[in-house]
């Protein structure tokens, strides 16, 4: 990193988001950056947004107001209309090319950061930390993390900070394999394979608009159901877990859930087309496949 406080780019990808809610989220980001800059934990910064929607989430007036708000906090503003739905992996890879900051805060636009989030996450980048993940509220992820070091299996890029050098070293997200969902699991595991730590920092709070049903189950969208199912097959293959892949194929082949059958058909098409990723982690050193997840759960 350069001498002095590290520089930061904050990047998020829109897809038909509500402008009012997006502006609210971005105001909270500017507020958190203002706090971090006043604490001396980051220096130069930029807000970099990519828009995958058919129509722009921000109209001209909102984009101008946002650019002015970012400038008042000493930052630069960059709003890219992609003109196509690239997905999160390709979208964030493209946004990463638009800055050269030391640190990158990658987050969803459907949440609000706490005022100290940037300050707390930036402090995690001591030696060998590649990704630092915030705590999501009100639905906190149950994955295990080391109580002292915060080390964990993977970090959700719903809200996580990563270092530019590590991002570049592992070539960012695998957008050839993952469109939405589990691109962050794969990124985390490749960061760990490269010898860096992935840490969870519960003092950094991200209020993520995820809701539970009356039965206390997470409400998921059709896109989340499908792409998570597709990613489950691809992760098992990529991380050399033939046994897990066989079991998922068996389950998806026997289910009457349409999105699972469609995910299996997509995977089989990749096999036929020769579009599967290179297999890695043959000795299973980082990848964790647990029932319904990719980490041991603490509850």
């Amino acid at each position: 990193m350069t001498p002095g406080p590290p520089s930061l780019s904050v990047q998020t990808v829109f897809y038909h988001n509500d402008q009012r809610l997006a502006l609210r989220a971005l105001d909270a980001i500017a507020n958190a950056v203002r706090y971090a800059r006043s604490a001396g934990s980051i220096g130069d910064w930029s807000l970099v947004i990519g828009d995958c929607g058919d129509s722009a989430t921000l109209d001209d007036s909102a984009a101008s107001a946002l650019a002015a708000a970012v400038a008042r906090c000493g930052g630069e503003f960059d709003y890219q209309i992609f003109g196509a739905n690239l997905g999160t992996a390709a979208g964030h890879n493209r946004l990463a090319q638009r800055s050269s900051s030391d640190l990158m805060l990658i987050l969803n636009p459907d949440g609000t950061v706490g005022f100290n989030l940037v300050d707390v996450l930036a402090a995690e980048f001591r030696s060998r930390v590649g990704i630092a993940e915030a705590r999501q509220l009100p639905f906190e992820h149950p994955k295990h993390y080391h109580p002292d070091t915060g080390q964990t299996s993977w970090a959700s890029t719903a809200c996580a900070m990563t270092s530019r050098s590590v991002f570049d070293r592992v070539a960012g997200f695998d957008a050839e394999t993952f469109f939405l969902y589990c691109d962050d699991v794969d990124y985390s595991w490749r960061v760990r394979l490269a010898g860096y730590d992935v840490v969870y920092q519960p003092a950094a709070r991200f209020f993520h608009d995820k809701r539970l049903t009356l039965e206390c189950e997470v409400q998921t969208s059709d896109a989340e159901d499908y792409y998570s199912a597709e990613a489950a097959l691809l992760l098992a293959y990529k991380y050399s877990r033939r046994d897990v892949l066989t079991e998922i194929r068996r389950l998806f082949g026997a289910t009457d859930r349409e999105y699972m059958r469609r995910a299996l058909a997509s995977f089989d098409q990749r096999v036929a087309d020769g579009r599967l990723p290179m297999q890695i982690d043959p000795h299973h050193t980082v990848a964790q496949f647990t029932e319904g997840g990719y980490a041991v759960k603490r509850y």
Partner: protein, 155 residues
């Protein structure tokens, strides 16, 4: 079952000393004493301030309703997002106190935005908030004056 989510309720009867439940009352007393109101962060924290009479109306309406409802969640607020800076300005103007001071301080746990859309509540209950912020502030100040006068009269 109907769950009412109350936003920042203020008005006669509230605690005049609890800083966690009574920011309107706390600010009121500072302005009344002619002191500048300290405002955290940049003054841009957003809340929805709803007057106690509007809340009481909503509760009474739900409690006396014979609607058959399996489960519903309704927000009870003014429906108008207000920054803490705006609230402090209204109170300072009311008492002719100095302009509020933006301190730049932060308080752990504070949520930047907490407001609501009351249109589903209005559609469901036929209820709406009647008290605007200026009117509600006036109502609270009259009660605070009475409370202080009553306390002083008791010695």
């Amino acid at each position: 079952m109907t769950i009412l989510r109350l936003q920042n309720v203020y008005g006669p009867g509230q605690s005049l000393t609890n800083s966690y439940t009574g920011i309107v009352a706390l600010f009121s007393q500072l302005a009344r004493a002619g002191l500048p109101i300290p405002v955290y962060e940049d003054g841009g924290i957003v809340r929805d301030f709803v007057y106690i009479d509007d809340v009481a109306d909503a509760i009474a309406l739900v409690a006396s309703s014979d609607r058959e409802v399996a489960h519903e969640v309704l927000d009870i607020g003014s429906g108008i997002p207000t920054t803490i800076g705006e609230l402090a300005g209204v109170l300072a103007d009311f008492y002719g106190a100095p302009e509020p001071t933006v301190t730049g301080k932060f308080r752990y746990g504070d949520v930047r935005h907490a407001a609501c859309d009351i249109s589903p509540t209005v559609d469901t209950l036929g209820w709406t908030a009647k008290w605007g912020l200026a009117q509600g502030i006036d109502g609270l100040q009259r009660w605070i004056s009475e409370e202080i006068a009553h306390t002083e009269a008791q010695g």
